[in-house]
């Protein structure tokens, strides 16, 4: 939805990252799947908005998702260096 995207871009709060914690976990088994066996990266971000209020955001990535995340950050670093 184009309008939603524009609204989001215009009015979204810019947060700064205060802390980045991570852990590497292995999901072994669950009630729906006895043989899960997949590693994942769990991230906990502490972010501050413009007023200084701090929020915590947690999320998980599969290994391929993490590798994509890492690759994008490398691209950002390369670009920001040249600007």
């Amino acid at each position: 939805d184009c309008w939603a995207l524009i609204r989001r871009r215009l009015f979204e709060t810019r947060n700064t990252l205060v802390d980045f914690q991570w852990k590497l976990g292995m999901a072994v088994s669950s009630d729906t799947c006895r043989s899960l066996k997949y590693p994942y990266v769990a991230v906990m971000l502490k972010v501050a908005d413009r007023s200084g209020q701090i929020k915590t955001k947690c999320f998980e990535m599969t290994i391929p998702q993490f590798q994509n995340f890492y690759r994008q950050f490398k691209e950002i670093a390369a670009v920001i260096e040249t600007v």
């Binding site: 729906t32 971000l45 955001k57 990535m61 994509n68």
Partner: protein, 190 residues
């Protein structure tokens, strides 16, 4: 009931697809009656019901154990030998179905078991802050990153973060530590 009516082939493949949609991919709402009338119209409901339950059970067992092809063959062979089991034609259809849908079903199971938000998307841009003649601000590029996060079955939440170059490099260092951990984990014998 003629065994031939419940034989393998296209109807069974269709049935397995519908079961997968309901059980793994979170798309319920395909009723038993709809399945029967579309795929096995000649079979009466009281015979279709146990058949459906049997197929659902087999599919769940295969997915739950994340069977490789050897385990699958052994399991299906055992099912053909049991009382009230399946035919070898049906076993062949199930085998083919699992081989082509295994990855997708496994991915759905992984998503279902993740109760935290997942990372659904990432977009970014780099802005150069330009100098104004009234301010002493030096040219300072800024990376703006938007993370799309979401829990299974729920709408996305967007998180917008601003990073300067120093911060980007700090994060990069952290990410390389994570990668090192992953490499260590993967290289360890099971």
């Amino acid at each position: 009931m003629a065994a031939g009516e419940l034989e393998g082939g296209k109807p069974l493949n269709g049935l397995l697809n519908a079961l997968a949609q309901e059980t793994f991919h979170g798309h319920p709402g395909i009723t038993e009656e709809l399945l029967r009338s579309q795929l096995y119209p000649e079979v009466p409901p009281e015979e279709f019901r146990p058949f459906l339950a049997k197929m659902r059970g087999i599919l769940k067992s295969i997915a739950s154990a994340d069977m490789d092809f050897n385990q699958l063959e052994a399991y299906l062979t055992a099912q053909t030998k049991k009382q009230g089991g399946i035919t070898s034609d049906q076993a062949a259809v199930i085998s083919k179905f699992w081989k082509s849908h295994k990855t997708k079903i496994r991915e759905s199971l992984m998503n279902q078991s993740r109760w935290n938000s997942g990372l659904r998307g990432l977009s970014w841009r780099v802005d150069g802050k330009s100098q104004s003649r009234h301010s002493a601000q030096i040219h300072m590029p800024v990376a703006i990153i938007e993370l799309e996060l979401g829990k299974y079955g729920q709408e996305s939440e967007f998180l917008c973060l601003e990073f300067d170059e120093v911060k980007v490099n700090q994060i990069l260092k952290t990410l390389s530590e994570i990668e090192e951990s992953i490499t260590t984990l993967i290289s360890q014998p099971n």
